[in-house]
């Protein structure tokens, strides 16, 4: 009997529900059509909710889905109905924060597509065949970010540019309110 926590899929959709990146670890959705139908159902069920500050959660077709949105990006992690929601949430939070680190705070669709290789690597470092591999965002970002970080760049410089990016985002957010 399998007792380990299992993740069934990780989805990154845009603000219209279109797939940016997705990785399925279970056979529940054997064809691409089935996958797309599932993504559509998940998207339409959650699109009106506000999942921008806290991780939100819902149930669909005997699955538990945790999700979080930022800008025009929608992150989802699905597990079975008997799964511990908080484990799924920690996977989602790890993914979310790691992407934030890798994209240096500019988390939106355009940036995600420009760095799709990093997103794919990020997925690969979080889950291996449905098993949770790592949930610490710093470790994930470090492992996935190998080719984005120019080894010649000084560490201090990086932090400054990262800080600037974060500050910029905060400013835009407060202006948008």
């Amino acid at each position: 009997m399998e007792l380990s926590p299992k993740v069934k899929n990780i989805l990154l959709l845009d603000s219209e529900g279109k797939r940016i990146a997705a990785k399925y670890y279970s056979d529940d959705w054997p064809t691409n059509t089935a996958k797309e139908a599932y993504e559509k159902a998940v998207f339409s069920k959650t699109k009106k909710t506000n999942a921008r500050t806290e991780v939100e959660v819902t149930a669909l077709e005997n699955n538990i889905i945790v999700y979080k949105f930022v800008q025009d990006l929608h992150f989802f992690v699905t597990g079975g109905e008997e799964e511990n929601e908080l484990i799924l949430a920690s996977v989602l939070q790890g993914l979310f924060d790691a992407v934030n680190l890798l994209l240096r705070g500019n988390v939106d669709k355009r940036e995600a597509l420009d760095n799709l290789d990093l997103i794919f690597l990020c997925f690969d470092e979080i889950i291996d065949g449905g098993i949770v591999l790592e949930t610490d965002a710093n470790v994930i970002a470090e492992k996935a970010g190998i080719n984005s970080i120019d080894p010649n760049a000084l560490l201090s410089e990086q932090t400054i540019s990262q800080a600037l990016a974060t500050a910029r985002e905060h400013l835009t957010r407060s202006l948008l309110k």
Partner: protein, 886 residues
């Protein structure tokens, strides 16, 4: 502010359509992939192309075998490059391409080299890729390195090896099992995730050795696990061990309960939740064990994090199904969740409250739900409506406020499924609670005044035709029904005409007026409506002789004797010819749907949908089925049908369950048989019943099942005679006899010759409870007082030691087979005394009420004072006899 036109257009395009992958095409990317073969590898360029390939695969594009092989071969060339970023992408694309075993050989040497590289990232990823693509023989070659990797000082490498082990265990268990020692070392690792992965693997390796798992759990629960994820795993293993122990007869204090409880004080929320959930799911959990878990879940209910609130309310919702009283303490926190932003949380909170709420809180709850109904989706509303229906059955006294609520939401906007759920609920309430009938019918009448769903209108009209004439003032419904004749489509008009006729036939005083109304309908534009009106006019104008009346009753109120599905097939097969269609040629045996379809149907239909949709189950269905079989037609009116009792274990060759049908002088056993072997056809299926342990019964007749093909259930019957009106009990042993014929699975044809065989079924008992019908009443007190006090029979009984009052009460309810009233079957968690009210109808249609008072002393000895009032003194005595013998 005018900007150049062109610039603006550019901006526009940018915003809407920008994507680096726009217009990307498989053919072109595959062309691009040729750069992998360049003598001088450009890492940046190659990474980009790999990303494009991954993008295509991720969007659902698939490569042909040839394309995939070609890409795979060129990708392997990239191992020459020393660029780490590119290498990372190469690992990723190899996993996605999942090369075939003969191709794998090309990369194994490169990957094995990387497995022993100095760069941690290479080691970790090479292991993951290699383990994903290799087969058993190669695995033995690299086993040595994998064992090393498990104890690698870099946690990332170690985790990679352990997780790969978990995957490999499925395909090559005997190899992975040899790594036990290394894995055990991993369990002691300082790295949280290594510990988690090692524990998962160690458990998987030992899972079939119950003793080893128990030892593992025993040693780890003493506290060396640091990682929250590993701790969650340990909790799951612990509950499994607890379950195994109780399954194997080890009783007494639960061995690891203390560990589970201590996890409730863990600092990680995921561990607390895991532990709380495990405790609530323990077999036969006691309220003392539940309390600490409920307390932490209650704290989660007011957490600012939605996931925590959801997890808590979801768990409590489950608990409320088995232990409603344990959850009542959380009701106040739960009520504030009704307005939760997250609708999943709100809905779970409501359904939980509806289960745990007591009678006094119903009104307040309904008020809160009313505010909330307007802004949730239909699917949630249906859940709420279903919960309200069960609440109403539980607290019949509150039907007024619940009915008001239902009629209010019935008037609001909503889709078909939602409206149907409401109408079904109202119908259920009308059926179960006689007091609610008149009000409920009027609500339905008002609803059809403005109902856009033809199906619902006709169903309600049909229901009105049956129930309406029996009310105190049938005339008040006529207006609503006749309005339909003016305002609706032909289908509804026809239904209305039939309903009118039913009123006219049943209520003598209304007959002249109905006749006038029907006369107006004979000029209708629709054939069916005109025909019905003409027909009913002649029925109503009949000569009033007994015979004619009987025929008309049969015609108006009788049901179709044959199953609809059979009728449909017969009609389809009928060739229009000189010979008229003969309804007697339609087979009466019910052919159930194949199992798969049954499962797909899911929930059992209730309310309006139930009688037509479920021909072979439910009391009315049984009644119809039995009366259609000539051998049993003479037995008179069916008194009670039990719920099906399984006579075989799950997943055996033949699945058989039995339904006991009780008549005044007879008992009929209905054996529902299913053949689960596709290669077999069973014929002449019969059940041989040995009634030597049931002296008062004598076998009368049996009806064999002619043929039982795979996966299409059928019924065999055996009938017994028994003394009139006496609750005879006894034990019957059953043997299934049949002729087996082999079936060729490819053609589905059976061979001619069969072999006789038999199959032992489990024993079946007829018990006293089979002679008592569960009948709910709305006001127990009134009913109790209306019965003659002098006929009351009181006695006291000692029930011996029991774990809890609830258990004793359940035992008594099961023994008597009576309906608990006013929710008195649930006991507050730490109560020492409790009164349970039961009502039922005893064979011979004698109403019985029972008031049972329970008390428990300090040594858990339970005493019961049983007061019985019945319309017939001898029945009250009989009830006492049942208890005394039980």
């Amino acid at each position: 502010m005018a900007q150049p036109y062109v610039k603006k257009d550019d901006d526009h395009d940018d915003e809407l359509e920008y994507s680096p992958f726009m217009g990307i095409e498989k053919g072109a990317v595959l062309q691009e992939a040729r750069v992998f073969n360049d003598a001088q590898v450009d890492p940046r360029r190659c990474s980009q192309v790999i990303t494009k390939l991954l993008y295509l695969l991720n969007q659902g594009e698939s490569f042909t075998k040839v394309e995939a092989t070609e890409v795979f071969f060129s990708v392997t060339k990239l191992f020459q490059s020393k660029d780490t970023g590119l290498r990372r992408m190469v690992y990723l694309i190899i996993k996605e391409l999942s090369p075939s075993s003969d191709e794998v050989i090309i990369v194994t040497s490169s990957l094995m080299k990387d497995m022993n590289s100095k760069i941690d990232m290479y080691r970790a990823n090479a292991i993951r890729v290699l383990c994903r693509i290799i087969d058993g023989t190669l695995l033995t070659q690299i086993e040595r390195y994998l064992k090393q990797a498990i104890v690698d000082k870099n946690p990332v490498v170690s985790s990679a090896a352990l997780v790969s082990g978990l995957h490999l265990l499925r395909t090559n268990p005997e190899i992975v099992k040899r790594w036990s020692n290394e894995v055990q070392e991993g369990v002691q690792s300082r790295s949280a995730l290594v510990q988690f992965h090692a524990l998962a693997l160690l458990h998987q390796i030992r899972q079939n050795d119950r003793l080893a798992v128990s030892k593992l759990v025993g040693s780890l629960t003493r506290g060396s696990v640091r990682s929250p994820l590993a701790q969650c795993l340990l909790i799951r293993y612990t509950s499994q061990v607890i379950r195994d122990m109780s399954n194997h007869g080890q009783s007494g204090e639960r061995p690891f309960y203390e560990f589970l409880e201590s996890c409730l004080r863990h600092k990680a929320e995921m561990v607390i939740l895991e532990a709380a959930r495990s405790i609530t799911e323990l077999d036969g959990v006691t309220s003392r064990e539940l309390t600490p878990a409920i307390t932490v879940l209650q704290l989660f209910l007011s957490s600012p994090k939605p996931v925590l609130r959801f997890a808590a309310v979801r768990t409590l919702n489950k608990v409320s199904m088995t232990h409603p009283m344990a959850v009542t303490n959380c009701n106040i926190d739960m009520e504030s969740l009704i307005s939760d932003q997250n609708r999943s949380i709100a809905t779970l909170a409501i359904t939980t409250l509806l289960k745990t709420g007591n009678e006094s809180s119903v009104e307040r709850l309904m008020k809160q739900i009313t505010n909330f109904m307007s802004d949730i989706a239909d699917e949630f509303k249906i859940v709420v409506v279903d919960a309200i229906r069960s609440l109403c059955v539980k607290f019949p006294l509150k039907y007024r406020s619940l009915m008001t609520f239902l009629s209010n939401i019935l008037r609001e906007e909503g889709g078909f499924e939602y409206k149907r759920a409401i109408v079904d609920s109202i119908v259920t309430i009308i059926r179960d609670i006689p007091d609610a009938k008149e009000g409920g019918l009027l609500h339905l009448c008002e609803f059809i005044e403005d109902c856009e769903f033809t199906y619902l209108s006709t169903q309600i009209l049909h229901f009105l035709g049956i129930e309406g004439p029996k009310t105190s003032d049938p005339s008040k419904y006529i207006r609503y029904i006749y309005n339909r004749v003016h305002l609706e489509n032909a289908t509804v008009r026809a239904a209305a005409v039939t309903t009118l006729a039913k009123f006219g036939f049943m209520v003598e005083s209304l007959k002249p007026r109905i006749t006038i109304l029907l006369k107006r309908c004979i000029y209708d534009s629709d054939d069916e409506v005109r025909d019905r009106a003409t027909l009913f006019l002649s029925v109503l104008g009949g000569d009033g002789t007994l015979d004619a009346d009987k025929d008309s009753t049969e015609f108006l109120f009788g049901s179709l004797e044959v199953p609809l599905a059979n009728m449909e097939t017969s009609l389809k097969n009928y060739d229009p010819s000189e010979e008229a269609f003969d309804i007697n040629s339609v087979p009466k045996e019910v052919k159930s749907q194949p199992l798969a379809e049954k499962k797909a149907q899911g929930k059992k239909p209730t309310g309006l949908g139930a009688p037509p949709a479920a021909p072979a189950s439910g009391f009315e269905g049984y009644e119809r089925l039995l009366s259609s079989i000539p051998e049993f037609a003479a037995f008179g009116k069916l008194f009670k049908s039990s719920s099906p009792v399984e006579l075989t274990e799950a997943e055996t060759e033949y699945a058989v369950n039995v339904v006991k049908h009780i008549f005044d002088n007879h008992v009929v056993f209905q054996y529902n048989c299913t053949n689960t072997i596709p290669e077999q056809l069973l014929e002449r299926v019969n059940v041989i019943v040995d009634a030597s342990e049931a002296e008062e019964f004598s076998e009368l007749t049996s009806k064999a099942l002619n043929s039982l093909p795979y996966d299409s259930p059928g019924q065999a019957f055996v009938a017994f005679e028994k003394p009139t009106g006496v609750p005879a009990v006894g034990k019957f042993s059953n043997t299934l006899t049949f002729v087996v014929k082999e079936v060729d699975p490819s053609t589905g044809e059976a061979e001619d010759d069969g072999v006789e065989d038999e199959y032992q079924l489990e024993d079946l008992e007829v018990v006293s409870a089979d002679y008592i019908l569960k009948v709910s009443i709305s006001n127990f007190r009134n009913a109790w007082e209306s019965m003659n006090e002098e006929d009351e029979h009181v006695d006291e009984y000692g029930l011996g030691q029991r774990d809890s009052l609830g258990e004793a009460i359940k035992a008594v309810i099961d023994l008597l087979g009576m309906q608990p009233c006013e929710g008195t079957e649930t006991v507050p968690s730490n109560a020492r005394s409790h009164t349970c009210l039961l009502s039922g109808v005893y064979i011979g249609n004698v109403k019985v009420l029972v008031r049972a008072q329970f008390g428990m002393d300090s040594s858990k000895d339970i005493a019961m004072k049983l007061a019985v009032r019945a319309e017939d003194v001898s029945v009250a005595e009989a009830i006492h006899e049942i208890v005394a013998n039980g």
